[in-house]
């Protein structure tokens, strides 16, 4: 009898427990999926690559599936943290495939909690916008633009933090 009671108590516990857990998980997924992405085609993105506001703009093209991009993201975050007050504005342009937004990009953004502004470029007509962004860009990522007013440099390469900081500082002087 005692044992039966124990069993009932145990069962009621587990019954109480499991729906809560499921609910919690669903909520978590909901918050990830409800994360709003700024998605642009090239015409929408273009003004962000040509701001005339006296600030130094660092624009990095990346994707969650691009290992060297993910590796250098913390350096861009660090520049953003340390130079934001010195008139440096960071923009991370994700080239993730739209069908991967929910599955890969949103969970990634949630997990990494990036402080820099992240936008998505969804424009299949790459042959139009790649040369428009820079005539020398072959299309490989990571790729980065640093500009201030009309002064502009394009980099089709990976950065170390020191390299990136040196480049940014050239624009600050």
């Amino acid at each position: 009898m005692k044992q039966l009671l124990l069993l009932i108590v145990l069962m009621s516990f587990s019954c109480k427990d499991s729906p809560k857990k499921v609910e919690k998980k669903i909520n978590k997924e909901k918050t990830i999926l409800s994360l709003d992405l700024e998605v642009y085609d090239y015409d929408g993105l273009k003004p962000l690559l040509n701001k005339q506001d006296g600030k130094v703009h660092v624009v990095n093209f990346w994707a969650t599936w691009c290992a060297p991009c993910v590796k250098e993201l913390p350096y861009f975050e660090k520049i953003n943290a340390e130079y934001e007050e010195k008139n440096v504005e960071m923009l991370l342009v994700s080239l993730d495939f739209p069908r991967q937004y929910d599955k890969s990009l949103k969970p990634f953004l949630k997990k990494k909690d990036l402080k820099s502004r992240v936008v998505c470029l969804d424009d299949v007509d790459q042959n139009r916008w790649i040369p428009a962004i820079d005539s020398t860009w072959s299309g490989a990522i990571p790729a980065t633009i640093i500009y201030k007013g009309d002064k502009r440099k394009f980099y089709e390469k990976s950065f170390t933090y020191e390299e990136l900081e040196t480049e940014v500082q050239q624009f600050l002087n």
Binding site: A63, W65, P68, N127, S138, G139, A140
Partner: protein, 203 residues
């Protein structure tokens, strides 16, 4: 004075060559492409010169691990099926350093080729000697070569088509148009195009 002039000329020359080196990496349309001897997934060595009856080649630098390359796999198979019999076979070359990208090693290449039913050689650029000569920077990166008396002439460099996301929404098939023009004895209308790809992995 004379030495100064000479020095100026020398500096100028150095400057010029330095400049040429940086901007002249890889082939441009019209250049003669190098042949190679690279290991295929079946263990045999493959060279362009093995293809006696070919009129040219669709050389594609591609790999297992890049989502853009994966998105194009079926279309690369379709290209080979359509054009190999017409004299333009696909030659796929995997350019990544496999220590950096183990997912592109020989076993992985064999598995991928089997799973996708590759009808063309899938070669390993072991030592990464070939892709820099072509000037490939990413996967996928296409070079269409036309066989001539002078060698294999580069006639097209760039993307396969204009929609990496959805083959059914492609408007312009750049690579097919280029091969069609060459087969018809015409000049390729659009000789270079650009597309996003994964940078080729090196140590």
């Amino acid at each position: 004075m004379k030495t100064l002039k000479l020095l100026a000329a020398f500096v100028c020359f150095i400057g010029l060559t330095a400049f040429t080196v940086t901007t002249d990496s890889g082939y441009k349309v019209g250049d003669v492409a190098t042949d190679f001897s690279l290991e295929n997934i079946d263990g045999k060595m493959v060279s362009l010169s093995d293809y006696k009856s070919a009129k040219g080649f669709i050389v594609i630098f591609t790999c297992n691990t890049c989502p853009y390359a994966v998105a194009y796999e079926d279309r690369i198979v379709a290209l080979d099926k359509k054009y190999a019999s017409k004299g333009y076979p696909v030659i796929a070359i995997m350019p990544n350093d496999t220590d950096v990208k183990p997912g592109d090693n020989m076993q992985a290449m064999q598995a991928r080729a089997k799973a996708k039913g590759f009808t063309f050689p899938y070669l390993m650029d072991k030592g990464q000697k070939i892709y820099p000569q072509y000037g490939a920077t990413k996967t996928p990166h296409v070079y269409i070569l036309e066989k001539s008396d002078k060698g294999n002439i580069v006639q097209y460099i760039g993307a396969i088509d204009d929609n990496y996301q959805d083959a059914s929404l492609v408007k312009t098939k750049y690579a097919e148009n280029a091969v069609d023009a060459l087969l018809a004895g015409k000049e390729v209308a659009q000789k270079t195009t650009r597309a996003i790809g994964c940078s080729i992995k090196t140590k």
